[in-house]
């Protein structure tokens, strides 16, 4: 999976590395901004109210 990604990315090694880094940052941003907040609503350990 990751090997295939590495082959598909264009340019020399340093350019591939930079693109990978950008992709990682993008994925983490999407996770932090949208995915994790949605998941957090489903896990119970954040509750602190009675009722």
């Amino acid at each position: 999976m990751y090997a295939a990604l590495w082959r598909v990315l264009p340019g020399p090694v340093w350019a591939k590395a930079v693109q990978c880094l950008v992709l990682v940052v993008l994925v983490v941003a999407v996770l932090f901004q949208w995915v994790f907040p949605a998941v957090a609503d489903l896990v119970p350990f954040n509750d602190n109210t009675v009722g």
């Binding site: 932090f32 957090a40 609503d41 602190n48 109210t49 009675v50 009722g51």
Partner: protein, 224 residues
């Protein structure tokens, strides 16, 4: 073929592990970063409104994340730190508790006869009540609204199960009894990083101070 399958499976498993670790980092660290910043901004907006604003509340016009909910008070607990100040927002839904301390619907207003009951995170989302277990009888809890600042004094605490709503009754633990005292109740989860129990701290009003006579420096010590 088998080699590729096993290799692919390994990559998937490693990815899954990294995702879980990232989630933990987000929950334990990033929610605090975001919530601390937001809560500080809301306290700031409230403070300005208290001094020269309109109605002493802050809503989505000043802070879009609040949505339908309005912040209407600042809670200060000297035991949690001299600078400790968090917004108090109407309601106790999840979005509210990420932005401050939530005021239970239907419980008394600050300073009123009955039980002014609030909930706050023990961990994550700015963890306003992280050290709620350090509160001792006599500790001050200050609830600042635009017209009046209310100084409460901690009286007791109890550890209950999440369904024990009697702790926020007008007379705590005596649902149905008509209140005569002006009380405060703070709830948070217990133990830390768990939601098995609720840590509940009770207090009573000791002083109401009109805005004009309020000076934080006079009341910033842990005990009266």
């Amino acid at each position: 073929m088998i080699r590729r399958l096993v290799g692919g499976l390994g990559e998937l498993l490693i990815t899954a592990g990294v995702l879980v670790l990232l989630f933990v980092a987000w929950q334990l660290w990033w929610t605090d970063v975001v919530a601390d910043r937001n809560q500080e901004q809301i306290v700031q907006a409230l403070s300005e409104d208290f001094l020269n604003g309109r109605d002493g509340t802050v809503g989505s016009d000043a802070f879009p994340d609040l949505g339908q909910d309005r912040a209407f008070a600042i809670i200060r607990v000297p035991r949690f730190g001299v600078d400790f100040a968090r917004p108090v927002i109407e309601g106790t839904g999840r979005p509210v508790l990420a932005l401050g301390v939530g005021h239970y619907d239907g419980t008394a207003e600050p300073g009123a006869v009955g039980n002014f009951a609030v909930a706050g995170h023990r961990t994550t989302y700015g963890k306003p009540f992280h050290t709620i277990e350090t509160l001792r009888a006599g500790d001050r809890v200050i609830v600042e609204t635009k017209p009046t600042v209310f100084v409460y004094e901690v009286t007791s605490h109890e550890i209950v199960r999440p369904w024990q709503t009697e702790v926020i009754a007008p007379v705590p633990d005596e649902p149905g009894t008509a209140p005569t005292e002006r009380l405060l109740t703070m709830t948070s989860c217990h133990p830390k990083y768990s939601a098995t129990y609720r840590y509940v701290t009770h207090g009573r009003l000791v002083k109401s101070i009109p805005r004009a006579q309020w000076r934080l420096a006079d009341w910033s010590t842990v005990k009266g």
